[in-house]
């Protein structure tokens, strides 16, 4: 529903309107949604720091966090995230196949 109407460059002033359309526009739900958004982006930043330490690449952290910064200012991630975490079988199978592929590559690199 709401997901299909969310554009890549949705602004945060549209955030509440999008949640209202889903019937969760009360301040408590909007606050919870924004907390989710912060946790999502905050975790990405932390993961980027961790990766830059593991691979000893400072540039990775700088570029990565810059991209995340641009993202957080223009693009609420949470609606897309909700779509990808839905119960639709096709989406689940897609992510399982991606997971198996990434895992295979990781273990291949372990050689």
């Amino acid at each position: 529903m709401i997901i299909s109407k969310v554009g890549i460059f949705m602004k945060y002033d549209e955030f509440k309107r999008e949640m209202e359309k889903e019937g969760t526009g009360d301040s408590m739900s909007v606050g919870a949604g924004l907390t989710g958004e912060i946790i999502l982006y905050g975790s990405l930043v932390m993961v980027m720091f961790l990766l830059s330490r593991v691979f000893s690449e400072v540039l990775l952290a700088i570029v990565g966090i810059s991209i995340i910064g641009i993202g957080i200012s223009t693009m609420p991630l949470i609606f897309k995230f909700k779509e990808e975490n839905s119960n639709q079988m096709n989406i689940q199978l897609f992510w399982i196949s991606i997971f198996v592929g990434v895992l295979s590559v990781a273990l291949y690199l372990a050689k």
Partner: protein, 491 residues
């Protein structure tokens, strides 16, 4: 290796299995309720039947050729595993007691519950990897059966999806075990560990490890399998969901222990450790963010379960003795307070809805229940002096000592998210003003004394383990020291 069966340890698995068959035959009988209650009492004492050590079924082991490798169904019981089995059986017992207060109790439900308890106990204690796989599959089928027992169309769909993905994940796990057997020549975990430590890795071993991780993800509800698990929990009746999440948590711990035991000390495991930490971060973050977006209380709790599974996996993935202790302890704590939360949801669902927008104002009608639910919520957030605080503190300590402060920060971020949605749920269910019509409806709610009793026991455990965490931690530590390795990220 000890080849004796000088105690009744196999009864922990065999007795619930036999009773499961008997219950499936007497499913319509009037005595089911009484027998279920008796079984609930027996389950609590069952873990004390075994003494510590390694045991072979049938009092024998088969020597393979001229090697010292052995074959046969073997179980290991040690203080750490005993605590896990006891927690599992205690929760199973309390859920069965709650079930005796239900109008529609039948033998099939008790049968499935007992089969699940036997399977997960066997998974925890199994020292034979094929035996572990067999019970892993039985646990999968049992969980799907318990969801189907809810009787709704959505429950059927969720169970069918779970089984469909399980067919793939289970097959891959079996393939992994076959690859490891072909590479090492044994199914015994201790023998396999010795072989892997003294021989170089082959593609078959890498393949086996890959398949084990897929089996772990499915059995434990880690990404990308988390949505299927969350769907299962939310479609089952809430008190059944408390059992399902307990099964999943102990399957996750048991499989992580097997992976750590086999590969934990090997140099090529470092990248896999990174993958496991990534999966655990995914579980924590995805579960919390999805929980924040839910309006249905059952769905909120379902995604919260995924999030806490991420914490358990993170501790174990770190792989240091402290990390393993923290992971297992958090798993035990989570099983306790989450069962309390689902039982609370079961009581709340008597108000005809689990949609939080349609609830509110329940506090005056069930103040004692609300207090116990609040205790469980505070435990899951990590507020002292409750058990969740102790295990989260250990987890963060383990991450800091492994020089991964980023992981510790993510754990704290996720705890903040947990606080937000748990308090949101508490407000919407118990504190939000409600209409006169709702008040009239609430007056007719009949709360099962059995459910309240089970909830009270779990709440007491939350407080007890929060004040005296050493009761559990001291029992886990020697085992964690045996399989853990001390390391830190030196970058």
């Amino acid at each position: 290796m000890v080849k004796k069966m000088d105690n009744f340890l196999p009864l922990i698995v065999v007795f619930p299995l036999i009773m499961s068959i008997i219950f499936s035959y007497i499913y319509k009988s009037k005595i089911v309720r009484i027998l279920t209650f008796l079984m609930a009492l027996i389950l609590v004492v069952l873990p004390f039947f075994g003494t510590y050590g390694t045991y072979f079924f049938g009092d024998h082991a088969i020597a393979l050729g001229s090697t010292s490798l052995t074959s046969g169904i073997a179980y290991v019981l040690n203080p750490a595993k005993n605590v896990m089995v006891f927690t599992l059986m205690l929760i199973g017992s309390l859920i069965l007691i709650s079930a005796t207060g239900e109008k529609k109790l039948n033998g099939i439900f008790t049968s499935l519950m007992l089969m699940g308890l036997a399977s997960v106990s066997a998974i925890i204690m199994a020292e034979d990897i094929f035996n572990l796989y067999v019970f892993y599959e039985i646990a999968t089928i049992t969980q799907a059966g318990l969801v189907i027992a809810s009787g709704t169309e959505n429950a059927y769909k969720a169970a069918f999806r779970y089984l469909l993905i399980g067919t793939m994940a289970g097959s891959l796990l079996l393939l992994g075990i076959a690859l490891l057997l072909s590479a090492t020549g044994t199914l015994n975990i201790e023998d396999m560990r010795n072989f892997l430590a003294n021989n170089s890795a082959t593609p078959a071993i890498y393949g086996g490890l890959l398949m084990l991780i897929i089996g772990l993800g499915y059995g434990g509800g880690l990404p990308p399998f988390h949505t299927i698990k969350a769907d299962m929990y939310s479609r089952a009746r809430p008190f059944v969901a408390s059992m399902l999440q307990t099964y999943s948590k102990f399957v996750l711990i048991a499989l992580m222990i097997v992976i750590l035991k086999l590969f934990g000390g090997l140099p090529y495991f470092n990248i896999t450790r990174g993958v496991l930490i990534a999966l655990s971060i995914g579980g924590m973050v995805f579960g919390t963010v999805m929980a924040l977006l839910q309006n249905d209380y059952k769905k909120l709790l379902a995604y919260h379960t995924i999030s806490q599974g991420g914490y358990v996996a993170a501790g174990l993935a770190i792989g240091t003795p402290l990390g393993i202790v923290a992971g297992i302890f958090h798993g035990i704590n989570h099983a306790i307070y989450k069962s309390a939360l689902f039982l609370g949801a079961h009581i709340v669902s008597k108000a005809k809805s689990s949609n939080m927008a349609k609830l509110g104002g329940l506090l005056p009608f069930m103040p004692f229940v609300a207090f116990m639910i609040l205790c469980a919520k505070l435990a899951t957030i990590g507020i002292p002096p409750l058990n969740g605080f102790q295990s989260k503190l250990l987890l963060i300590d383990a991450a800091m000592k492994a020089n991964i402060p980023e992981l510790a920060i993510i754990m704290i971020l996720v705890s903040i998210g947990t606080f937000v949605y748990m308090m949101k749920a508490f407000y919407l269910i118990f504190l939000k003003p409600c209409s006169e019509e709702q008040i009239e409806e609430y007056k007719n709610i009949k709360i099962s004394k059995y459910s309240v009793f089970s909830l009270a026991i779990l709440t007491v455990l939350c407080i007890l383990l929060g004040i005296y965490p050493d009761i559990v931690v001291d029992r886990i530590y020697p085992f964690a020291k045996d399989i853990g390795i001390n390391w830190a990220l030196n970058k």
